[in-house]
Structure formats: C-alpha cells, structure tokens
C-alpha cells in the first residue's frame, strides 16, 4: 500500500482540469440554486452547447477560433433565454423538468446518426483546439512529487484556475450588491419581492443566463482541455456531480462550489486509487471474494455517496455555509 501515491493522485486530480470543469459548472449552479433558488437540473446541457458552440463553429463551419469562442458564450445565453421564457413564470419545479429534459434532448441530438454531419455523431468533434494548444507557454510538465501534470494539463490548470478566480470575483461583486440581495430575496419568497415593485421575472432570467454561461464556460474548458467534444461527456450525472460539489462546499457562498469541487475530486480519485491498490497484486489487502479490482472502481462512488449523506445529516449547510441561515426556518 503506497499512501504517498494515493495522496498525490488524489491531490493532482483535486487541483486538476477535471476539478476545474466541475468548479465552473458548480459556480453556475450556485448562481441558479444557491442564490436565486432556481432548480436547474440541466447544467450538462449548458456545458454541451458551450462546447459544441466552439467545435461546430471551427470544425464544421470552418470559421476562426475567436468566432468559436464567441459562439461558445452565445449558445448557452440563447439556451437560457429559450428555457427561461416559458418556465420562469411558473413554479420552480417546471424549470427543473424542462432543463433536465432539454439537456437529454441536446445530448441525444448531438450524438445522433442523422446529425452526424453537423455534430460528428457519437464520436464527436476534434481538431478545433490548435490555437489553444499553441498558446501554451510551458516547455514541459511538472512533477513535484505531491502533484504532477503533463505539459498540456499544466497549461489547462493555469488557464482553468484563472477562469475560476475570475468567476468567483464576478460572483462576489454581484452578490454583495443590491442586485444580489434581490436574487436572495427571490429565493426566499418571490411574491414578497414582487409586492415591493421588483420585476422578478427579469431577475430570474438574468440569473439563469449568467449561471448558464458559467455552465457553457465549463463545457468550453472541458472541450479545450481534452481537445475533443463527445456527447457522452455531457450526460445527466455531470449535473448531479456538480450539485454534489456545490452542496459539499456550501451553497450561496462564493467559494463554496470551488472548495466543493476540490474535495469531491480529492475523495473520488483518492478512494479510487486506494481501492485500486487494495484489490490488485498477488496478495491483495481486500480478498477477491469480497471485492475484485473491476468492482473497486465503482466502490468509490458508493463511499462518496455515503460521505455526502453523512455531510447532509451533520452539516447540511456544507463546509462554508452559514449555520444560522440553515437553522432558522420561518416557514
């Protein structure tokens, strides 16, 4: 059992590109759910249109990379407006249903054989990220013992954490303002906000667009860091992992989703490599009649789920959440 290896694998993942993707997606969900109370169960859909916005523009339409970036932001904006118009006037549940369904429809359309010419079918699209790769200033990767990244990953990690920091700054600036106060009030009781002369629909739409664009940014970053856009990367469980990260870190806190994403990936890959080691070799720590090495890769999800349950029981506000905000329930 090599604990140094387990720890360094976990830390590398926790600070790596995957955690950044979830951090960005969870920042968006924090704006939706944490601050405004909008139940968006289709963040994977926003991610997908962000990623495909870039890939289709560059690969299929043959337009420059810069135009692709603009499309990667325009597509989630458009999706938010399309989803928001029919559902934001209704109760919160309708948005949840509409978003989860839309995310699935998008994934299936992007992967369909009929649309293969536009979206590349189940193999997805590649060959749009050379501009991004060429910008890489590093000549080689790093191996500090506790974290190790390849040259490509090091570039993605740099870009990614800058994006996360900018995102946190935007959320901080917005949420301390009266605008943020209106959002938090809508989360509590939208009729009260309406009775005070605020256009609740407009605020919910703004929140949906902003959070959706963070989802799109997460998808765009995922597309850039792995140089391919594949429909199976945008399945519904991505949305729920992002929610897990958000609740773990603490909703309605600026750094909540970021810390949550780091912890989520630390646990997931740490447990993965622990059980991987414990079930492999000639004389494994865990005998094969309990668990073999193919099962071990799934056990980490069971343990993560269990940890999440314990967290919700003993610390429902998450790591950063304010206990008082949870303890009081006026309704």
């Amino acid at each position: 059992m090599d604990f140094t290896d387990i720890f360094s694998t976990a830390l590398t993942q926790a600070l790596g590109p995957n955690a950044i993707v979830y951090a960005l997606a969870a920042i968006g969900l924090n704006i939706h759910f944490g601050y405004t109370g909008l139940l968006n169960f289709g963040q994977a859909g926003f991610m997908a249109v962000g990623a495909y916005g870039l890939a289709v523009t560059v690969v299929v339409a043959g337009l420059p990379f810069g135009v692709g970036l603009v499309m990667a932001f325009a597509a989630p904006l458009l999706l938010a407006v399309l989803l928001g118009f029919p559902t934001l006037r209704l109760r919160a549940d309708y948005l949840a249903i509409a978003t989860i369904a839309t995310a699935e429809i998008l994934r299936l359309v992007f992967g369909s054989v009929e649309m293969k010419d536009y979206f590349g079918g189940s193999n997805g699209l590649t060959g749009y990220s050379s501009v991004y790769k060429d910008l890489n200033p590093y000549s080689e990767g790093i191996d500090w013992g506790i974290v190790r990244y390849s040259r490509d990953d090091l570039w993605s990690v740099t870009v990614g954490w800058v994006l996360v920091a900018l995102g946190c700054l935007i959320v901080f600036a917005l949420m301390r303002s009266p605008w943020g106060r209106v959002l938090r009030s809508i989360r509590e009781d939208e009729d009260a906000v309406r009775s005070l002369g605020k256009n609740v629909f407009a605020y919910k739409m703004q929140a949906l667009i902003l959070g959706g664009m963070f989802g799109g940014l997460a998808g765009l970053f995922l597309a850039l860091k792995q140089s391919s856009v594949v429909p199976s990367d945008y399945s519904t469980n991505i949305t729920f992992y992002a929610y897990t990260a958000l609740l773990l870190g603490g909703a309605a806190r600026v750094l909540g989703p970021v810390v949550g994403a780091i912890i989520f990936w630390f646990l997931l890959s740490g447990l993965g490599s622990f059980f991987g080691q414990a079930t492999s070799g000639v004389d494994p720590l865990i005998p094969s009649w309990i668990m073999d090495d193919t099962q071990s890769s799934l056990v980490r999800f069971i343990i993560t789920g269990l940890a999440l349950m314990l967290l919700m029981i003993y610390r429902p506000q998450g790591i950063f959440g304010d206990r008082r905000e949870i303890a009081i329930d006026g309704r």
């Binding site: 935007i170 600036a173 917005l174 301390r176 303002s177 009266p178 605008w179 943020g180 106060r181 209106v182 938090r184 009030s185 989360r187 509590e188 009781d189 009729d191 009260a192 906000v193 309406r194 009775s195 005070l196 002369g197 605020k198 256009n199 609740v200 703004q206 008082r324 905000e325 009081i328 329930d329 006026g330 309704r331």
Partner: protein
C-alpha cells in the same frame, strides 16, 4: 376641488349604499369578477376608495376580500372588470408595476424574507436602486452612496416601528407580531400612496396591537391612504373612517363604522347578535340557555 370633499371630511355626505360614489376617490373599479371553477369569489359592481382615509374591508371567511386584494394588486387576473388608480387604468398591470405606481400590499401570512437580516429586508423595499441593475451592480462606487441613503431611511423606519434593536437579526427569528411590523415598515420603504394591509392584527398580542393601531393611524396622518382587511372588530371600530362589507363576493354594505355595525344585514351575515357584548360579562346562564335551546333545536 374644495377642502370639504377630500379626506375624512369628504366622507360626511356619502350615502351608505354598496358601491357608493366618493367625492375624491383614489381607486375606482367596475364589474370586477373572478370565479374559481363554479364559485364566484369576487363579483363587485362598483367600488370606490376615498383618498387619504382608512378604509376597512370586512366580511365572513370566503367573502372574497383577499381575492379582491390579489386582483387589485395584480397578483391575480380577473375574469372581467376595470379599475383605475389615481385616474390611470390599472387592470391587467403586473404586480411589480402596481407596486411602483404607489400601491403596495402586505400579506395575510407575513412574507418576511427569513434568511435575510431585518435591515436587508428593509433595504430591499427601496425603489429605483442603481445597484439593482445588472451592469452597475458589480461596481460598488456606482451605488454605495444611494445605499447609504436607503440605509438611513430604513433605520429611521426601524426606530419608528421599534425594530431597531433587531436590526442585524435574521427576519426568521422575529415573532409573529414583529413580522407584521417589519412587513409594514418594509412596505413604507416603497413610499406608497396606498398601503393595503391584509389582516394586520392576526396573531398579534394585545400590547403590540395598540402600537400597530397607532402606526396605521400615523400612515393616514402623513397623507397615505390605507385599505385593510380585518376580522378584529375593535380595530375596525377604532381606526377606520369607512367600512366596506363583503359577503359571497359582493359588496353588501358600506358606511361609517357605527352605521355599518348597526346594520341588521351586516349583523346577520357576519357580526352575530352578540358582537357588541363582552362575552365574559354576559349572563352565563343566558348563554347556556341559548346554547341548550340550539341543541334541542338541532335534535328535532
């Protein structure tokens, strides 16, 4: 318009018929109706609310008082009807626009924002905030001076409503009566011309009731118009200048508190024969006899 037709003085010559015309009306409504399934919750032929006075809306449960409130404030859409506020048509206008025009309501079940502090609840009430616009929100210098001004006004109101000690507490930790006060104070942050209170006395203890009565009267004294729904006849008797009685969705009587409470139809429909008597002072035997007679009556 001469001074005699405005405010309370103007009510002197108003006939006590349902839908009576007022000399200086703030709200004028016609044929307002709203049905839920087969039930006509509101069916008001004509309604006028005098400016600058306290008008009470009373009636039995299910009479359509709250539904009428919801319709007038844009929280519900009527099947038919038109009404105007300050001479401008207001039917079909969205709730938030109604509030911006100066017509603000409170709710029967208070809607304080539990997970915001008392002072944040108050700040939310102010209208025309630069910091509430998306593009100026991230830049504190654009809205901080206005925020200070809003906070100053909010603090003044909190002192007036004796909530200043609770300034930094979460609104969810307030008692029922304090929530009513906070909701009223928050509504004043909008600086409304008409304030509509839905059962302001429900669940409020007797000591606080006295101060609430004072607050409602002070609203009128500073020139606002007050319309409230209430079951507490003490409040209606003491502070209202005009009373409108609803039953089964219609206005059945109107008048001064004294004339309405003497109206036999109102007593039959709503108040009950003993509404003026203190139950503890009544002859207990008489009550028992009456009750026994009723029980006998139902057996037959």
């Amino acid at each position: 318009m001469d001074a005699d037709s405005t405010g309370r003085a103007g009510l002197a010559g108003v006939p006590t018929d349902p839908g009576a015309r007022k000399p200086d009306p703030l709200i004028v409504g016609d044929n307002i109706s709203r049905a839920f399934g087969g039930l006509k919750a509101v069916d008001v032929e004509h309604l006028e609310i005098q400016r600058g006075v306290i008008t009470a809306l009373i009636g039995p449960n299910g009479a359509g008082k709250t539904t009428l409130f919801n319709l007038l404030t844009g929280f519900d859409t009527p099947d038919t009807g038109d009404w105007s506020f300050n001479g401008k048509p207001l039917s079909g206008v969205a709730a938030y626009k109604v509030a911006r025009r100066g017509m603000v309501r409170t709710f029967q079940l208070t809607k304080v924002l539990s997970k915001l502090t008392v002072i944040e609840n108050m700040r939310l009430g102010a209208t025309g905030q630069r910091g509430e616009r998306f593009w100026s929100a991230p830049f504190k210098s654009l809205w901080s001076s206005q925020e200070d001004e809003i906070t100053r006004r909010a603090d003044e109101l909190l002192v007036r409503f004796k909530l200043d000690a609770k300034r930094e507490d979460f609104a969810g930790s307030l008692s029922g009566g304090q929530r009513k006060l906070l909701e009223m104070a928050r509504a004043l942050m909008v600086d409304p011309e008409l304030i509509m209170l839905d059962e302001p006395m429900a669940g409020v203890n007797p000591a606080l009731k006295q101060s609430l009565l004072g607050h409602v009267q002070s609203l009128r004294d500073e020139g606002r118009t007050v319309l409230f729904v209430e079951h507490d006849m003490d409040m209606v008797r003491h502070i209202s200048d005009w009373v409108i009685v609803m039953a089964q969705g219609q206005i059945v009587a109107e008048g001064t508190p004294a004339s309405v409470m003497a109206d036999q139809r109102v007593i039959d429909a709503y108040l009950g024969a003993h509404h003026d008597t203190d139950l503890s002072e009544m002859d207990e035997e008489a009550i028992m006899e009456e009750a026994m007679a009723e029980i006998e009556g139902t057996k037959e």
